[in-house]
């Protein structure tokens, strides 16, 4: 299955968003997530199944103006 993660294609077999974050070694408590442009809250990551071609955003705090 191929996913578009933060703008880059990645091959993965993770079945849920939660698994994917684990697999990629993200610190789950320090990022926020969206699937296909829609916010997925922390407590819904385990319930959010992934399928081929989905676009994910995984973001973290940064400087801003």
């Amino acid at each position: 299955m191929k996913l578009l993660i933060n703008g880059e294609w990645l091959q993965t077999e993770a079945s849920t968003l939660e698994h994917l974050l684990d697999e990629l070694d993200y610190n789950a408590a320090q990022v926020a997530t969206a699937v296909d442009g829609v916010f997925v809250s922390r407590d819904r990551r385990a319930l959010t199944g992934l399928s081929d071609g989905m676009a994910l955003d995984i973001v973290a705090p940064m400087q801003g103006g």
Binding site: V38, D57, V59, P61, M62, Q63, G65
Partner: protein, 262 residues
Amino acid sequence: MMRDTWNAYGIEMRSRLLLGTALYPSPEVMAEAVAASDAEVVTVSLRRQSPAAGGGNTIWDFIREMDKRLLPNTAGCHSAAEALNLARMSREIFQTDWIKLEVIGDDYNLQPDPFELLKAARSLVDEGFAVFPYCTDDLVLCQRLLDVGCEVLMPWGAPIGTGQGLINPYALETLRARLPEVPIIVDAGIGVPSHAAAAMEMGCAAVLLNTAVARASDPVGMARAFRAGVEAGRGAWLAGAMPKRQTAQPSTPVLGTPFWQQ
């Protein structure tokens, strides 16, 4: 001096300078500039995190340590939908309802898109956000933002990062005159402290800036200068400026001028 505070969404604040955290030469300088500015609120953003980054995120560590109130932005969003989702992500991460709502309508002048902005503001207010809308100085747009529940307005002074100051004082004065009860924060375009002072002299509640401090030769010194500029403008507003006159009027008494004979 009497305690002079202002209020946004139920939070009472003393400092009238809100500062951005981007574009500084280093995180250390950023932290020092924020301290020098006396800001109580700093703006932050969310950006894509590469997995490789691991736990490292220096700048964020610095920001967190400053223990300031955070105002996350939705910089870079071009539609209400994008801004909505980014705002929700912000709330989860930053644990605050506050959101500086930016919905860019043009990549050249980075101006707000009045239509998408209003749409996003309406939804975010419904979802319980405390929306700080980065808007134009258009009175009707501002009125609409208030109508959908915004309690603060953040009109631009000039396009982001230009440092041109207040390019349309007439429009800002109109906002101030027509919406006297609403805190107005001039956001974007301010280049030097006299611009910030001029905004405060009009009766604006506060000023938000970033580039002018971060890109000064000495950001810490400039932060201090802006702090003074904002205090100057605020103080003048409270003290009630003299009216402008068309013709000159001597300050030194004319009566008793020597050498003058009838």
